[in-house]
């Protein structure tokens, strides 16, 4: 009997390995861990995009209010899908949205895109060489970061932002971070 038991051992080992490999298959390799949650925003300083007369966008703009930082580009199809929601958000909520205009080959493309589809941003920086994007650990556009009033990154959303994410995750977090009840508005 004791000798029989040893023959079952490889089967058990196989089952354990098989279980973990099967579990691995269900994971999405595109989903990467958010490394910067709870860490201060990286140091970055971007020049303004064409046609905007403010001073570009840097980490110093992220120190007084809970804000969203959105990475976008005129070349990015998903950003086009996301854009109407950002427009709504900028009108109906009082959380400022800042933009990082990522990897425009032509410096006119970003400003033209914003002219055509609307401009929801308070500050926008031009990032043609991924300086800020890499500092933020961005892998694709659009991505949106929630930064609190002390400049700490609290949440990273990959892909187009939508009403569901806003209501379910971002809005509750913003309320908690600002320690007060701000009316949600009609969103």
């Amino acid at each position: 009997m004791k000798q029989r038991a040893i023959f079952i051992l490889p089967l058990i080992v196989f089952c354990i390995i098989g279980f973990y490999l099967a579990k691995g298959l269900t994971l999405d390799p595109k989903k990467m861990p958010s490394m910067l949650d709870g860490k201060p925003v990286p140091t970055f300083s971007l020049p303004p995009i064409k046609g905007r007369d403010n001073n570009g966008f840097s980490q110093n703009h992220l120190l007084d209010k809970v804000a969203l930082v959105n990475i976008f580009g005129s070349w990015c199809v998903a950003c086009r899908i996301e854009h109407p929601f950002l427009m709504q958000l900028s009108e109906l909520s009082n959380t400022p949205i800042h933009g990082i205009n990522w990897r425009e080959e032509n410096p006119d493309s970003g400003p033209e895109w914003l002219k055509r589809h609307g401009d929801p941003y308070e500050f926008v920086g031009d990032d043609p060489r991924s300086k800020a994007a890499i500092a933020f650990g961005v892998t694709g556009a659009p991505e949106t970061f929630l930064v609190d009033q002390e400049g700490i990154i609290r949440y990273k959303h990959v892909g187009p932002l939508d009403l569901q994410t806003w209501r379910g995750i971002l809005w509750p977090l913003i309320q908690k971070l600002s320690h007060k009840n701000i009316p949600r508005g009609t969103l």
């Binding site: 595109k30 861990p33 910067l36 990286p42 991924s130 890499i134 892998t139 694709g140």
Partner: protein, 160 residues
Amino acid sequence: MRISILTIAFSALLLADSLAVEPSEILDDPRHESRARELSKALRCVVCQNQSIDDSDAALARDMRILVRERITAGDSNEEVLDYVVLRYGDFVLLKPPFKKTTLVLWLGPILMFGMALLGALLFFRRQKSATSLMKCDPSAELDETERKRLNALLGGQKK
């Protein structure tokens, strides 16, 4: 004929080693450049995921190659450059996973499995050896007293 085969073989060799690094990216200091190449080979392109940034043509990989070179020129050590990228993208960005608590199974698993297999094989051959040595005992040898008694007891029922 021979020349054309040689040409094809040679161009295939060139293709196999083709890189994404563009001439404009290459640093003037050859020591810096070779460090940059070494680091680029260890860093995963986060867009295409199974290529290093040294191999990848993705725009973000190119920007990361430039970043690696900028940090080297600024005087960062190899570890400092890798730390900068890992801090932002996680261990995932390293093509060779680091040896630490969460990767123990990954690194030690194969050794453990090999050890188990070795142990199993050892036990198996040992048993087989003792089985063959049993068969080799001298058939002409007489049974001693205890053996005869036992044999009789075993055959007792059938002897009638």
